[in-house]
Symmetry: C5
Subunit: 305 residues, 5 copies
């Protein structure tokens, strides 16, 4: 979850502490070997790491770009889920008129649709995180519906199926006209698209060969670095090499974190927070101003669990 | 707000004045230490900052790109709001015919819809700026509607809800046919999308770890610079280092400004100006040529407040 | 207007002639100072401008990219205007059947719609160039319509409003069925979008702080250049520095030209030519093979005026 | 046309043979001058071309990118033409039912529509190549239709107009219902968009000032190269300079080829091949398994003609 | 197929083993020549490969980008196929009501449509891999349908044609209303688009001239490398040159693999796995919880065959 000022820095830097320690020890050994045994010919010209530096920088920039794009696409999809959930609710509530004589049944229908949409958001967020999509559904939909969707491998898809069946029922009852049904079905198609896009990002890894190669080339570059700087510095080389190495290691780490935006990390897409906001908005449209308890750091707790 | 020639340059350069001062003093100290105490071995080869320079330049370019994209996307969304507000008005006015016998009620309906659309633009711009979205609504919608929307956390969403209810009312009255209602509802969905996209940009910070890392690496690079140049220059090094450092600091500052396009800064999306233009156009379509007073610098005043 | 082989090169190079002259004089002075007074310590190492060169190159590439994108988007929008004008005409002519008994009135309606679409293209192109959008409208629409649209600040929007009113009239007359009206209205919405997108590009300047910073950094780089090269060359340095400086100055100039594609420059979007082609195509669909006189260099003359 | 292994390499390298020869002779002269007359001060430091090398590389990358994008967009548009031609045919054949009693007339209608769609593809491909769009139309549409479209400047647009008229006829006959007509019209609008997009790419040149500047800067860089390398090499400099220069010249050449994807070059969009595939698929849907003769290298022959 | 941790690394590195060996031997020969025969003037300054290094790095980055985009587009298209297959099924099952009296025939219709959609996915994946699209179809559709589609060159297109005919049949039977038919037809159009996009990626090679040029320039750069490093290192140059060369060779290899995402390689789009997931989901919607046997490594086996 990316909210201002709440990235646990220690968490991030903690991730590279072993690498940094290793680089420090490695550089120290080289410095000592060089100074004690006066191995002058160990030094290599700075141009050698510079040639590699350009291509590695470009590859890291390329990778950062793709990782950022995946992360931003994930965020955009969840933005679309917010929009389509609201549009779906607006359409259900305005198309299905509650002023008719059979208003109790209609009211129940309207509420059932909207609450199921809330359930859909939570179920999708759970299943993207690899958790059980059925967890907590009983707060929003009936037991019979929970039982029905449990038979499916893909819970959110089953919920959309229930939506579609109910729309057909409303059409037959005359609560919706034919255009309205088709319009609502198009909103369902957009929700179905959003769901599938999330699954695509979740299931498609960044080409492993690229990651692997960039990882190797960068480490090779870091291994060369002390030899290139040894001519100019003594012991002061150690913090210098550590600082440069840390920069490269951190960029790679950041790319790795961003590229899997549904993987239960602090840089994750804040799906629980977004689902809660959807719940609040949709319930208010239903005139239910009893908001969900917004325990602070709800996504944070999630990670702690 | 980005209009030609009205960026307060002093404002922009003022932002880095402390950093620049610090760099100047820091470089001066190094020059003095070097010259007075003749510490020759303080110098490091220029290639060291050059290696870092390439990767930092690429990262700054990457960041500038993403910041620019966020800013341009914000501007594009508000462009779409202009377009859809005009289309919505055109559709309401041409679909709902005012030549029928019950024309007074219809006329009132047409005007109510269009004025509510104006209100929606202002309310969205207020709430994106973190201000009270209800401010000034009473100029455009009735008190009863103001009271209704006040119960919602998300004022613009509540206004769209009122739009949708009115469309359903018009359908039942026979003022709209079934296709026209669905077409107008699709326009509402597009407006709902635009609103959600703005909220997404507002609520999603640029990955804090990237910003942080780029910030650290850049400052480390600036700290190394005087050591690398000290061999060649005497006191003249101070303005040189300051100028190079200022370039890097400025690019970072610009990226920070552009990346949050709804944050009450002079580089902000000019939402108030755009809303006023929408108001002017929509009122003219209603044959109301009594334009809103266009106090100059309306967005500027906004920031002063 | 960008047609092959007709960019006035003198015009382009003429734009940087003062800068080039200045650079030449400035370099000459430095060379003379250096040679006459034997100021050896004036020279600085080439690596200093090289560090800046990388970051400036990246920023210029970034800027060229954004400028090109704006220019290409403008061109794409006008491409969409061509497409939607043709689709609008095709729909009007095929949906509204002229074989009925009241064919004279219908024929007049069909022709009025198509000619107004031609007027819309010219009006939009005029108003984007900051000229009076009403100029020449009387060639395509009736005086009463000219009078009506004159009351609007935004002439093309008013023309779309007239389109929509006429469509509603045709629906009531039974010339269009309900689906056809809605389909035509969607085409109007696309035209409305295109208009708004042009206005967005026209009204949103490239972030002035970026331009400013890139401008400063580049000039600082050019000022350093003669000092860096002075060691190696004598008087021959002058053309060398001029050539390098001219390259950078020209790229910046090109970006400035492309970034405002509606600003009456030779690199402009050829809106008049495009509008003429639309007029030709639409008139042929109306069976009016009396084409508009295609004075050569129509856009060129435009600039001369 | 880009099919595997059939780029005529000789053709490509042949394009730069004069430039390469020129560079070789030029370098040779410099080497001879340097060696014979011992002009030591002719040498310039390698850093000078390196500064230019970075900015030229970035500009070439920028240009390659834009050229590739134009080429890929052209290919994507023709991909969309394939898709929409198939969808159009599927819709015509499934919407217009051939089991009714008036089946002969209907069958003729269905076949006429599909064959005209084939004609449209060929006509568009001809007119994009600057050839006569009417050539070969008589194989697919009736003489009367050929005569009708001949009066238009834009043949494919006229064919879409005939499509639309026939759809309206089918609506009046009751062969299509109102929704189906509108749906088919939307497919026509997509085809109209594709046509306009091709024309946009065809008619909009890559900004000539950019091309020109990149061309000048690159040649200036090549002219400097021998002076920079002369210190280190003797006669062996000639092949080295030629090889480096050839690299840069080739990239520029490739960008020039890709940027005009409708210009009768071997790297062209394979419009004839694509049209033939469309013809095959559409005829099979019509149950006409008499396929067009697929002379191998159909696009190749095209260039030879 | 890209699933975590299952790229056969040996496979990847195996691909460059001959190149690496060649580079090693080549470098060794140069080192021996240099050391034995003391050919001092063989050495060239490191700046020469550095100039080329920048432009080659940029071109490799450009190529990696385009290759990644093709690969990601392929993945996105198959994601859309998942979404549209689900939407299609949801629409068929909810629009066509099975509670009517003629329910057996309807049930058969519903099942036939859904199973044919499963068949479509498998057939598309087969034909994109250049295999026989008819293989295994008989598991999902009737023999008569298999016979029908066999007459077509493009099997998936023929299946969509059958879909469309069945929809028309359902319309005539009254199982679908007119809007529902058109809505389902739009889903078919999206599936048709996805199919055409896959074919476009499959049939359009990355511009061969670019690949060729990048290949030549990179190899030329590798050939120069040993001469540039020979001054500084002795035998230790061999692993250094091999490591740097391997980096460049690997990036090129990766780009070549990613750029053809339908070519039966381990980095391929996992079409069989995706099709199986679609089969599972669609069958569950049909209440058929008899899932397809999910032999592990189904795509892997594919490559082994």
């Amino acid at each position: 979850m990316l909210l201002k000022n709440n990235i646990p820095f220690k968490y991030v830097f903690g991730k590279i502490k072993y690498e940094v320690l290793l680089v420090a020890v490695y550089t120290l050994i080289i410095v000592i070997l060089h100074d004690r045994f006066n191995l002058k010919h160990m030094a290599i010209p700075l141009s050698v790491p510079m040639i590699m530096g350009t291509v590695i920088s470009l590859l890291l920039a390329f990778r950062s770009n793709q990782a950022y794009d995946r992360w931003w696409e994930a965020r955009t999809i969840w933005g679309a889920i917010v929009n389509d959930s609201r549009s779906f609710t607006r359409q259900v509530l305005s198309f299905v008129d509650d002023s008719a004589y059979e208003s109790e049944e209609i009211n129940h229908f309207r509420e059932r649709m909207v609450r199921r949409q809330i359930a859909w958001c939570y179920a999708l967020s759970q299943s993207l995180r690899g958790l059980d999509g059925k967890d907590g559904l009983e707060k929003h939909i009936s037991k019979r519906e929970v039982a029905y969707v449990s038979r499916f491998a893909n819970i959110p898809m089953a919920l959309l199926d229930l939506h579609a069946r109910d729309l057909n029922y409303a059409l037959k009852k005359g609560w919706l006209n034919e255009f309205q049904q088709v319009t609502l079905d198009q909103t369902l198609s957009r929700l179905c698209d959003a769901m599938g896009k999330c699954e695509r990002i979740k299931n498609t890894v960044f080409p492993a060969t690229y990651s692997l190669y960039i990882h190797f080339a960068m480490n090779f570059f870091i291994l060369l670095l002390p030899f290139a700087l040894i001519e100019y510095f003594g012991l002061i080389e150690v913090p210098l090499v550590v600082a440069i190495a840390a920069s490269f290691l951190l960029i790679e780490k950041m790319a790795i974190h961003l590229q899997d935006p549904f993987d239960n990390k602090p840089t994750d897409t804040p799906m629980t927070t977004i689902s809660r906001n959807i719940e609040r908005d949709l319930k208010q449209l239903l005139n239910d101003h009893h908001l969900p308890e917004t325990t602070q750091n709800v996504d944070h707790k999630f990670y702690v669990m």
